[in-house]
């Protein structure tokens, strides 16, 4: 599996990317605050990572941006649109995959297209390409229960990519993938992103991953989540070709991130 996610078909034009503005957002579940006064601006076409201790509200923030989770205070803009519910710009890779257990891989990947009214023939073709992109060719007719955790996660990824989103929200997408495959995936994600230029918000627990992928890393404080620090990652791109991981700059940034996170615990 040399190239896990091949570049998209040249014919399809890349969508214009959008800016995300999170402005003073607070959210509580009952009496328990999950997010407090969070403000983040994600530039159009930017790759931004969210990192922070478990339970600090990363998933909650992602869902709020996707319009799946109404917030108590503040507002969220996706491009010119104020988020009040799910919109067509966003796509998401879910932390627990969220695959339909009763549907095959093919149908799972088609699902987003289906709900957005894409005709059957085009659906099948687009989904087929997305499945090939994540390296699951041959598994089109398998059911999720027959796949490993990593393969399931790739199905979720293919489904999110198939709708060609302008904003891609990724909730720990590589968490259940082994380290070698994970590195390949990271490189392929970067290649894909540099072509599609979607705005990406990427949640991860891995400091190396955050630094390697992102333009900026937002560190959230432990529950309730607030923006604790924002770390710029001025490493040159494209990173997938050069040996960024071995560079002094990379190591220093990871170390800096570690120092920030250690003080949070």
């Amino acid at each position: 599996m040399a190239r896990v996610m091949a570049a998209p078909a040249a014919a399809s034009r890349a969508p214009a990317s959008l800016e995300i503005v999170v402005d003073g957002v607070s959210k509580a579940f009952g009496a328990m605050p999950a997010l407090v006064d969070v403000s983040v601006r994600v530039g159009a076409g930017e790759f931004l990572s969210l990192i922070g201790p478990s339970g600090c509200g990363k998933t909650t923030l992602l869902k709020a941006i996707a319009g799946l989770q109404p917030v108590d205070r503040g507002r969220i803009l996706v491009g010119p649109r104020e988020v009040r519910g799910p919109g067509p710009e966003c796509s998401m890779v879910f932390q627990d995959f969220a695959l339909l257990p009763w549907s095959t891989v093919q149908r799972n990947v088609e699902f987003g297209l289906l709900l957005r009214g894409v005709a059957a023939a085009e659906r099948a073709a687009v989904a087929g390409r997305a499945i090939a992109k994540v390296g699951l060719d041959g598994f089109e007719q398998a059911y999720p229960a027959q796949l490993s955790g990593g393969m399931q996660q790739r199905v979720g990824l293919a489904r999110a990519l198939a709708v060609r989103p302008q904003i891609l929200l990724m909730d720990e997408p590589f968490a259940s993938i082994d380290e070698q495959t994970r590195r390949l995936f990271q490189d392929d994600l970067l290649a894909l992103w540099s072509e599609e230029r979607a705005t990406v918000v990427f949640v991860t627990h891995s400091m190396e991953e955050a630094v390697y992928l992102s333009d900026r890393v937002v560190v959230l404080s432990p529950r309730p989540g607030r923006v604790h620090r924002v770390l710029d990652v001025p490493l040159p791109r494209p990173r997938e070709a050069s040996d960024v991981r071995a560079s002094v700059g990379f190591t220093r940034l990871v170390d800096e991130l570690w120092k920030i996170l250690r003080k949070l615990q």
Binding site: G85, P86, C90, D96, A98, L100, W102, L115, V163
Partner: protein, 251 residues
């Protein structure tokens, strides 16, 4: 806990066990231990006679008709009510007290009420079948809908699913195994309702034959009808199970 072992396959081991029981019975029967344990071969002969002279087929046809008239509405309405209760908290709060109470209530006490309403007619049997099977279907459907994974709903909404698409593409397929279990347990309950209803009105079907042969002390005939009722119940439960397997393949 809605029906303990009723959801299991009887299969080959079951057949073996039944065959063993029948063999032991035949031996005891031949030894003439008790009036109430006649040899199986004798019962089989009488059974064949009742089959040939049309008694059993006639009674069974009437029974099955009541079963269908009661169970089909119970299944359709039960699934509909269960879906509504699973999806909408208001509906659930309005109804779940009743459903839970009636689910474990001795509904056989209501048969005389049904007779008062409908008169001594086979409608009472259908209504009894309905009462016995409806609540299991409702409860299992509700449970199934409520167990739908939150993230699947989120995912579908993200891609723009409206209420109808959520129902058809997420809640219903996700609840399907539980719905099928409910229908299976419901079918078992329906047969019980059928027998109880028919025995109490004592007018039609296999239940009437049971009462009649009991009252006239025709032990062999009584056993033949009991055997037919049990066979019918087993066949229906097996049919429900086969249907379930066919519909929920992805498990």
């Amino acid at each position: 806990m809605t029906g303990a072992g009723a959801d299991r396959q009887f299969g080959v081991a079951g057949l073996g066990a039944v065959a063993g029981l029948l063999a032991a019975w035949e031996i005891v029967g031949r030894l003439d231990v008790s009036l109430f344990v006649p040899p199986v071969s004798g019962i089989a002969r009488v059974w064949w006679g009742l089959l040939a002279d049309g008694t059993l087929p006639g009674a069974a046809a009437s029974s099955l008709l009541s079963l269908v008239k009661g169970f089909v509405p119970a299944a359709v309405l039960g699934v509909a009510v269960g879906l509504a209760m699973g999806r909408f908290a208001t509906v659930r709060l309005l109804l779940d007290g009743w459903v839970n109470a009636l689910m474990s209530a001795p509904l056989s006490a209501l048969v005389p009420v049904l007779i008062a309403l409908f008169g001594v007619r086979d409608t009472v049997v259908a209504a009894t079948v309905f009462m016995f099977s409806f609540f299991v279907v409702v409860v299992n459907t509700t449970t199934g809908v409520r167990a739908t994974e939150r993230s699947l709903v989120d995912m579908a909404r993200l891609f723009g699913a409206g209420e109808l698409a959520l129902f058809g593409r997420i809640y219903l397929p996700s609840a399907l195994p539980a719905v099928m279990l409910g229908l299976r347990l419901g079918a078992v309950q329906a047969v019980k309702g059928m027998v109880v209803g028919e025995m109490l009105i004592s007018l039609v079907g296999l239940g009437e034959r049971l009462i009649y042969y009991g009252n006239t002390f025709l032990i062999l005939e009584l056993y033949a009808v009991i055997g037919s009722v049990l066979l019918l119940a087993l066949l229906i439960s097996q049919a429900a199970q086969t249907l379930d397997r066919a519909l929920v393949r992805w498990r």
